[in-house]
């Protein structure tokens, strides 16, 4: 179970010409409970705080106040040495992919497994399976700069799945896809969810969110403004 309790995140921003320091409120007193195995769409306009919400979950940023916990594990007070353990249980599809430019698609996925300490034979076995799952078998030897946006996104997804995560965070995974491919990817996320992984999907793609027919949480300027059990995208 994922639990946000009055989580607030403020980013400090220093003005350009030595101007006054101010703070951007990215998340404002968010209280949210997500059950294990749930599929939740986080929607909201650009800058509403979707990415920030996900970032708190894998300890990329600490909340300014309030708390975040996963299965009773308080991420707010996590020790630096515990962070790798947390991240190996959470797969993240990054909005900006975060692929290594000097490595091929195959190597990018293999690298993540290597980082996690998987034995080499397992890496050789699992990576092709993952690439097949995201429909990238043909592109295994291409470098990120040779990929289309959607292919890069799917590479990021394959990597996120490398550790069989308990939780999958997908930040705009369909942002670079046409309707057809977006639909395929969505089916894939639903399948992964069906296999027991909790999925958090951040998106502002109306068609996609409406197609999911699952719980929808709407953010607006950092606040949860609406929750729907089987919702549709509305602003």
């Amino acid at each position: 179970m994922i639990l946000f309790q009055h989580a607030t995140k403020m980013y400090p921003v220093r003005g350009a010409q030595g101007g006054t320091k101010k703070e951007i409120v990215a998340l404002d007193d968010v209280t949210l409970e997500i059950a294990t195995g749930e599929f939740v769409s986080i929607v909201g306009q650009s800058g509403a705080g979707k990415s920030t919400l996900l970032r708190l979950l894998f300890a990329d940023e600490p909340p300014t106040s309030g708390s975040v916990s996963i299965d009773g594990w308080d991420i707010t007070t996590i020790r630096p040495w515990q962070i790798p353990h947390l991240r190996r249980q959470i797969g993240v599809v990054f909005q900006d992919f975060k692929l290594l430019q000097a490595k091929t698609v195959f190597e990018n996925v293999a690298f993540a497994m290597e980082v996690g300490g998987a034995p080499t034979p397992e890496i050789r076995r699992v990576v092709p399976q993952l690439l097949k799952l995201v429909n990238l078998s043909e592109n295994a030897d291409q470098y990120p700069w040779q990929l289309s946006g959607g292919e890069a996104q799917r590479t990021s997804l394959a990597r996120a799945l490398a550790f069989r995560p308990k939780i999958l965070l997908a930040d705009e995974p369909t942002g670079n896809l046409d309707a057809l491919h977006a639909w395929d990817l969505l089916q894939l996320l639903l399948k992964i969810n069906k296999l027991g992984t909790t999925v958090l999907l951040a998106s502002h793609d109306e068609a996609i969110v409406n197609a999911v027919k699952r719980r929808v949480v709407t953010l607006e300027r950092g606040k949860v403004v609406k929750e729907q059990k089987t919702g549709t995208y509305e602003l």
């Binding site: 040495w81 353990h85 692929l99 690298f111 993540a112 290597e114 980082v115 300490g117 990597r159």
Partner: protein, 304 residues
């Protein structure tokens, strides 16, 4: 860190070393220079110490006996001297022995041999060769030989006064060692700086990788390991190269200079062979320590 993680860190360390080959070579080179300086310092120290020892051991006073001294008298004086704490040994050289040595020495010279023959009798004197505990004992020994008890039986007393030489040599050696030490430390500091910067630049060059490794859950050691190993590689490569040239170099040096060192009493090559283990250890530990400390500092500073 388990074995798998270690071999991976090793592999990435090698990759890093190779990708940064020119910087890596610079770091390795300056570490090599440091170890060469250390080797030189070691040789100077050992040769100096042995030379000093050889000179200090050469503390002998030769007491020539007057012809009036009979065997009993000489033996009595010998026993007397042997009783002294500042004297380690007294050797009695009889007239005959002195002659035999002299003849043996000048066998090649027919004129001297003939002169001796014509003389008919043994012109040489019996003597006592006194070895003192230390050069500092000379004055007392010389003084006591002047006592009336011995005076009638004693001819000339000669001794090589090498106190001056010893003092000067130790001063020179001390200066030499100090200069060597300062130079070694200075070069070691440069080596640390170069290695540190090599690793620092490597870390900058990999910042993208490092950020992504963190995001996908790499443990700190998995991230730091390759950089530490990259530094360690410079250290171990330079240490191994030093070992490769040090022993042959010492052998060649030894064959050239042993005759002049410590009165030919000291064999540098043999010394290095006998201390091969310790010497190898010294170079390996110095090289590895210098490089590891440098990369450790870089990793500590730039990898949080």
């Amino acid at each position: 860190m388990n074995f798998l993680a270690f071999t991976r860190a090793l592999r990435w360390g090698l990759v890093h070393y190779w990708r940064n080959i020119w910087l890596s070579l610079a770091a390795t080179g300056v570490l090599l220079l440091t170890l060469a300086m250390l080797a030189l310092l070691l040789i100077v120290t050992v040769v100096g110490r042995e030379s000093l020892k050889a000179i200090e051991a050469k503390v002998d006073v030769t007491v020539f006996m007057a012809d009036t001294a009979t065997d009993e008298v000489i033996l009595a004086i010998k026993a007397d001297l042997e009783g002294r704490a500042d004297i380690t040994s007294v050797q009695y050289v009889t007239k005959e022995q002195a002659l035999a040595t002299f003849e043996a020495h000048h066998r090649a010279n027919p004129i001297i041999a003939q002169a001796l023959q014509e003389l008919g009798e043994n012109p040489l004197q019996a003597s006592l060769i006194v070895k003192a505990e230390s050069p500092q004992a000379y004055p007392q020994i010389a003084e006591s030989l002047k006592s009336p008890k011995y005076q009638p039986y004693i001819g000339k007393v000669t001794f090589e006064d090498n106190r001056e030489v010893i003092v000067r040599l130790s001063a020179v050696l001390r200066t030499l060692r100090r200069i060597g030490l300062i130079l070694t430390i200075a070069i070691a500091a440069i080596a640390v700086l170069v290695t540190f910067n090599t690793i620092r630049l490597a870390i900058y060059g990999y910042h993208e990788e490092i950020a992504i490794m963190r995001l996908v859950g790499a443990s700190p050691w998995f991230i730091k390991g390759p950089f530490l190993i990259e530094g360690l590689l410079s250290g171990s490569i330079s240490a191994l190269l030093t070992l490769l040239y040090f022993f042959p170099f010492v052998r060649i040096l030894s064959s050239r200079v042993s005759a002049f060192v410590a009165g030919g009493q000291f064999d540098l090559a043999r010394w290095s062979a006998e201390n091969a283990l310790g010497v190898s250890f010294l170079f390996l530990v110095s090289g590895i320590l210098l490089s590891t400390v440098s990369s450790w500092i870089a990793v500590r500073r730039y990898l949080r």
